[in-house]
Symmetry: C2
Subunit: 168 residues, 2 copies
């Protein structure tokens, strides 16, 4: 075996949330430069029944937080999803990263075989830790970061693919 | 160590490309039901300087193909990026999956330490296999699948988050 569960969780999530923080900062700067109200940018959706930019950020953060919490069993802080400004969303990301970094590699050891059951209405799958991470948590995490990127690009923010892939 | 390089590549990519194939099929059905020309749907972009849906599909397939090729050293088929129809894009996905499934777990063994250098204009990072997979290949793969999803949703296709996360 080549990779630990820690390697495929914490550094990946911390990196992705850092990318998201940078994307949001560029969005805020673009809004200020072009006179777009922050609340307008954060409320933008790609379809009427999709979630707005602010929720994409909250859910990306939670995707990382819940993944590490479920795999490690270490209680995670609760956030009320009340952020309405760029500054509050940045704080949410920072608080999430602080939690992620508080969980040690040892606390994630063996989590590939841990049983994880999700509960979302009629959707209640049970996974092994490995399946949960690779089939659910990581795609879900990247879904929300990418959709945040797409929402910013759709509003004219000057970001590019390397902003998404992050500093190498 | 908990996970092999194979576990974090081939099944993940095969699953993601299967999800993308299903999303595209639903897009095609929606176009037919609403009288939207297929070429119009496939040419849609979220920003004037972003790539259209058809390219998102091609690049998602290549992200998976190049990841396995670079990590395993097994030559991959070349595709000319000439697909202009849903049927041709489905064939591209199927041909990519066939290549991915032709590479064995043994051929990926040890690839976490393999040196991978990318060459894209001025962007020429060198990674370990592990860094390449986790910091570049997987985020890049999910970026293009998610953007394809977002492009379909933006055009009114009735798909939801569970279509993206795929059958569990």
């Amino acid at each position: 075996m080549a990779l630990s569960m820690y390697q495929v969780t914490t550094p990946v999530f911390v990196r992705g949330l850092g990318v998201l923080a940078t994307l949001l900062a560029k969005g805020q700067a673009h809004a200020d430069a072009t006179g777009v109200a922050h609340e307008t940018m954060l409320a933008k959706r790609l379809a009427p029944d999709m979630l707005p930019l602010s929720r994409q950020v909250q859910i990306a953060a939670d995707a990382a937080k819940f993944a590490v919490a479920r795999l490690s069993g270490v209680d995670a802080p609760k956030f009320a999803d009340t952020e309405t400004t760029f500054a509050q969303l940045q704080e949410r990301l920072a608080n999430t990263v602080a939690y992620l970094e508080s969980v040690t590699a040892a606390q994630l050891e063996g989590s590939e075989t841990r049983s994880v059951t999700l509960s979302a209405g009629e959707f209640n799958p049970t996974f092994t830790g490995e399946g949960y991470l690779l089939q659910f948590a990581l795609p879900n995490f990247y879904f929300h970061i990418t959709t945040a990127y797409d929402l910013l690009r759709h509003q004219g923010v000057q970001i590019g693919k390397l902003d998404f892939l992050g500093p190498m």
